[in-house]
Symmetry: C2
Amino acid sequence: MSASGNDADDDTLCPIAHSTGLVGDRWSILIVRELLLGQSRFQDLQAQTGATSQMLAARLKRLEADGLVERHPYSERPPRHEYRLTPKGRHLMPVILALRTWGEQWCKPQSEQPATRMFHRACGSELELDGKCPACGGLVAWTDMRGQPSEAYAEERARRAADFTDHRRAADAQTQPDR
Amino acid sequence: MSASGNDADDDTLCPIAHSTGLVGDRWSILIVRELLLGQSRFQDLQAQTGATSQMLAARLKRLEADGLVERHPYSERPPRHEYRLTPKGRHLMPVILALRTWGEQWCKPQSEQPATRMFHRACGSELELDGKCPACGGLVAWTDMRGQPSEAYAEERARRAADFTDHRRAADAQTQPDR
DNA sequence: AAGGTGGATCTGAAATTCATAGTGCCGCTC
DNA sequence: GAGCGGCACTATGAATTTCAGATCCACCTT
């Protein structure tokens, strides 16, 4: 089921082994996170994930081969594309949400605000970390949620984008100091 | 927040980056899966995950350092222990369940039976892949579920355990052919 | 005492990942 | 029309990780 070079995960019935065969590494997960957040350009993905360009290129290639990502041209001459999630990729949302919940509950200093607040589309109330709607009193499906990054998190992301172009400019200046 | 050597994931607000810092690799996820399934001994973990012994030892050490796993002696002289999930580790269940759902829906040949069937503890009905209870008509929290491996999957696991001890015996025989 | 078991650790080869540098293409400016 | 700079990669060699396979150690069984 994996179009990439993965193996050893095709000869088992365990669906978790299959999943981790495709997205069982840090970079793939972070890339999917970014794509879900709406980023689509190489540069932005690189800035926000912190992956090296070749890691990113390699992972995107694999994600595309595995059918999670589609390359979508937004300019020919020079050939440029956006990367977008396919339905298969988009359905990783529950995995990302579960990682979010766990990270917020068990890996953060204290209960500072979640980086992204989630709301119930139907009634507008803010959801609990575990996905319960305090108004409707039940678990909400991921398709019925809407996320809103906190101000602090939005700022962090903006800074990362800025730092990235800065750093790049600096490197270029060093490479060609006086030509 | 990571007691292990991980870094680069502590200076962000993103909970997903934090999570993947601790469990963002294939082996850790498979190990957690096994522990959730009730395995606790080194050998069993090795057989079912397919990790090398040193990978397993290293990952268990890291998982322990990060507070996901507890080492629990069941024999001194020689020191032997079981590995058990802490509450922090057990709360990864939703992540594993999400990976399961995705794997069943998008990575398996067809709709063959799920490897593990899930049931609603309250009413006993079998849950949909997406976690809905057909009887109660809503999403069920992970704490209200119970899993039941299919026969085929149980057999696969038994075979893996058997193959592992066989393989080990074979290797030993080769190493010390006639002493 | 010989052999088996469970849980590791060591070693050297193979593969992956990293930092860093460069390339190709184009549009824009001057 | 030459040069500059942005974007999306690719190339390279060093550093790190992972692997297969052997070895070790302390017991236990026979």
